[in-house]
């Protein structure tokens, strides 16, 4: 392994030397990406949004690779229609293959991913939609989206047209899920605003700034049903997804009511959030208000950015965490188990810890392997001149790591990490050492690779292979003791995480594992030795 550790960080963590720093900023060789959002004086809203990041093992060599979504060129002002100069290598999305020594090689061109289309880049979803054992990529744009099929030989092919998933408008986050449990991964796309560059508004006095989303109309999200044979069918209307028009940002999946069908949470910007309850018959009902996850504890809308749909308190029920802008406090809804949620930002201390921060991508993962999922957030305000508007706030912020102490949160010391305009973040174990790593996509900058520090606690990573269920095992529920993890690559913001499942086991050197596959199959694995990566196949 060859990680180049940013030495400046070490001193900051001396106070917690017993356990070591929770994460370290590393600069692996070969990862030379710079996100280009092309900020203009026109303050086009799309400039503020990107970019996304995915952690996937595209060549099945057991090492996670990194895919980064770029923005595009914007003239000042930009004539329409624009092609955002995506043909220029400076604006390509990039795929970096991880090498055995921990360095990376840019394989974008060789993999056939240099054609980024004509849209301004946003995010990425990962899923093996054709069940061939190789993860595919879906890239969202302001403009036409692109589905890249993994050919299994190190290359990808743009199959958007034959798959029928080009979408259009302003797509933001996306994710693969098998919403009808038919064994094939379907696709959900969140969309932000009914927006056109030619209708961009200018706001702010005396300091010109980006307009609030309430100056624009919202739009609908999209759901595509996987018909097999490489084709998807747009079921957005038929499924009831378009019954709610929103200002979609993040999207995450989990089965909040335990009925065996994945539900969909969409974080919306400055309006009610959406919880699409899966009725199990191919249709959804938007129930956020009834379930208590639409608004803040005072009934106020907030600027929903990213979302994590995972069990933070080890009660076996998936909870919902939503990032938002400074002074709104990150939102945590605890699942009460009866179809309703309670606002838990206060009770967990998260409100007080996050009031000054603005969050985007996030994830609940066990960074210290103590058996409790910690909250990691990519942070930054949306306004690049927010300090001039409110001197107490900052545009660039270091990422936030909020350690989970049996259901209460405590801020970890990451203050010495450099402040950046964090956006997407993806999670996975890059170096297979059992500690969760995070890759933060930075708006207009270079990504941050944050390596989790292994400690004496035990861990397990499971790679699921579905047979009756979709091959990724997305939608499976995995339990070890009181911990539960829902298998998904979606969540966060604009990003896709490692499809493998990670558990911290604290002092337990062995574990009993229970897997409930989307097919309904229940699988028990007893006395599994810890500290290794285990591949689990779904029984036929």
């Amino acid at each position: 392994m060859r990680w180049f550790v940013h030495r400046g960080l070490c001193a900051a963590f001396l106070s917690s030397a017993a356990q070591g720093p929770p994460v370290e900023l590393v600069k692996p060789a070969g990862l030379e990406f710079t996100h280009r959002n092309s900020p203009t004086t026109q303050k086009y809203l799309i400039e503020t949004m990107g970019g996304g990041v995915a952690l996937l093992d595209y060549n099945n060599d057991g090492l996670l690779d990194i895919f980064l979504v770029n923005g595009g060129n914007l003239e000042d002002p930009q004539a329409v229609p624009a092609d955002f100069r995506r043909g220029d290598p400076a604006y390509w999305n990039r795929l970096y293959r991880q090498n055995r020594d921990g360095s990376f090689t840019d394989v974008t061109a060789a993999a056939g991913l240099s054609h980024a289309g004509n849209g301004y880049g946003m995010g990425v979803a990962v899923g093996d939609y054709n069940d061939d054992g190789f993860p595919d990529l879906y890239v969202t744009n302001y403009g036409r989206n692109i589905l890249y099929r993994n050919n299994g030989d190190g290359t990808f092919a743009d199959v958007t047209e034959e798959a029928g998933v080009s979408a259009g408008g302003w797509s933001v986050s996306a994710g693969f899920l098998d919403y009808d449990n038919d064994g094939r991964l379907d696709l959900f796309v969140s969309r932000y605003l009914d927006y056109d560059l030619s209708r961009n508004l200018l706001c702010g006095t005396p300091f010109r700034s980006y307009c609030r989303p309430d100056k624009y109309e919202g739009t609908t999200n999209l759901l595509y049903h996987n018909e097999g044979s490489g084709h998807f069918r747009d079921v957005s209307v038929k499924s009831g997804i378009t019954s709610a028009r929103g200002k979609g940002m993040g999207v995450a999946f989990n089965d909040y009511d335990g009925d065996g069908f994945p539900d969909i949470f969409v974080s919306n910007d400055l309006m009610e959030q959406f919880l699409f309850h899966n009725k199990g018959d191919g249709t959804f009902e938007e129930r956020a208000l009834e379930a208590g996850v639409a608004l803040s504890d005072d009934g106020k809308p907030f600027s929903g950015m990213g979302v994590a749909f995972a069990d933070y308190d080890n009660d076996g029920l998936p909870d919902i965490t939503v990032t938002d802008l400074a002074l709104e406090k990150y939102i945590l809804y605890r699942n009460d188990g009866d179809g309703h949620f309670s606002y838990a930002s206060n009770a967990t201390g998260l409100a007080g810890l996050t009031a000054r921060s603005s969050g985007w991508g996030l994830g609940l993962h066990d960074f210290d392997n103590d058996g409790w999922k910690d909250l990691f957030v990519a942070q930054s305000h949306v306004l690049d001149n927010v300090e001039r508007i409110n001197s107490a706030l900052q545009y660039r912020e270091p990422p936030g790591l909020y350690r989970n102490l049996a259901g209460k949160f405590e801020k970890s010391a990451l203050a010495s990490l450099p402040p950046v305009a964090g956006r997407g973040v993806a999670f996975g174990d890059l170096n297979n050492d059992g500690a969760i790593d995070a890759v933060v996509a930075v708006l207009g900058g270079r990504p941050m690779i944050l390596r989790g520090s292994a400690n004496r606690n035990h861990w397990l990573i499971l790679k699921l292979i579905g047979s009756r269920s979709n091959r990724d095992g997305q939608g499976a529920k995995v339990r070890i003791g009181k911990q539960s993890v829902y298998v998904t690559t979606a969540g966060s913001y604009l990003s896709a995480s490692d499809s493998r499942v990670h558990f911290g086991l604290a002092r337990d050197s062995h574990a009993a594992i229970e897997i409930l596959w989307p097919s309904g199959t229940r699988q028990i694995l007893n006395d599994v030795a810890a500290d290794r990566i285990v591949t689990v196949k779904e029984p036929q």
Binding site: G292, D297, D298, G299, H340, N346, A392, L393
Partner: protein
Amino acid sequence: MIAVSLLSMFLAFQVTPELRQHVDAGLKAKAAGDLDTAIHEFKRAAELAPALPAAHVNLGAVYLEKKDYANAIQPLRKALELNPDLPGAQGMLGAALLALGYAGESVSHLEKAGAGNLLGVALLESGRIRDAVDQLEAALQKRPDDPDLLYYLSQAHERLAKQLFDRLRETSPESARAQQMLGDVLAASGNRDEAAKHLGAALALRPDLRGVHVVLGEMYVESGDYESAEREFRAETQMVPGSATAAYKLGSVLLQRGQVREAIAELQRSNALLPDMPETLLELGKAMATTGDAASAEKMLHRVLDQEQTSKLAEAAHFQLAQLYRKLGRSADADREMKLFQGIRARQK
């Protein structure tokens, strides 16, 4: 009205048919709202009877009605020159002068006219702030909801406060109170960094100053620094244990920081010191709901709604109640509260 009332004065004067014709035509035009014709007719009447005060005052009154203050002044002055006791003329001249910004000159005329509300404004604009406050307070007694009076009285108090502030800074610039006041003003204007400096200086000079920690704490809350806010509110509650405000603010911050039990204790203490403040009751309701004490939470939230029907506090209380009833399985109650919440929300949009 004034023109009509002056008709009798015309009648007492030697009135020629021509003069009477112009006066009648002027009055008729004025009554019909045709002010230009009225001016023309009254001008002609004043030319025909230059020694007749009523002719000039009528002309001035119409100019005043037309808001042509500059042209109103000359005929009103002429009328008062001919008859200093002419009814209404002093008030009209004072009003015209004030409208053009000659506040100092208008004062004597408005005093003679006994026009308390306009006099208050004239005194304010001519820098006699204390006298202005007295006049405006008296006028407000008669018209308590007059928006002009409320506006000018608030201006007068603000300027009076500014005068006192300036005096404090001139006479005791290094005093703790001067630092505190400067800090308060800076905090109110959103200049947090400078405010914190002066408030800190005030506390360094007089650590026992009441209220400084509250202002500092509020600034920290506004900037999202709840840890520092808690420190400041805690300092205030220790120094002034009888302060309901400090206890409420400490309780509110503790709630956001996840210290729910201690938050409830502080909020209950605040409610005991200053009972039934709706803000305190709402926070108590939220805190009690967090601990699962649904019955107490419901009680507190209903007490908010006993006092608040359409405010943001009422909106939040209905929302909290809807969540509470939903959890308790009381669907009909939850639906009702949600509808009330949405009704207030729709009105506020």
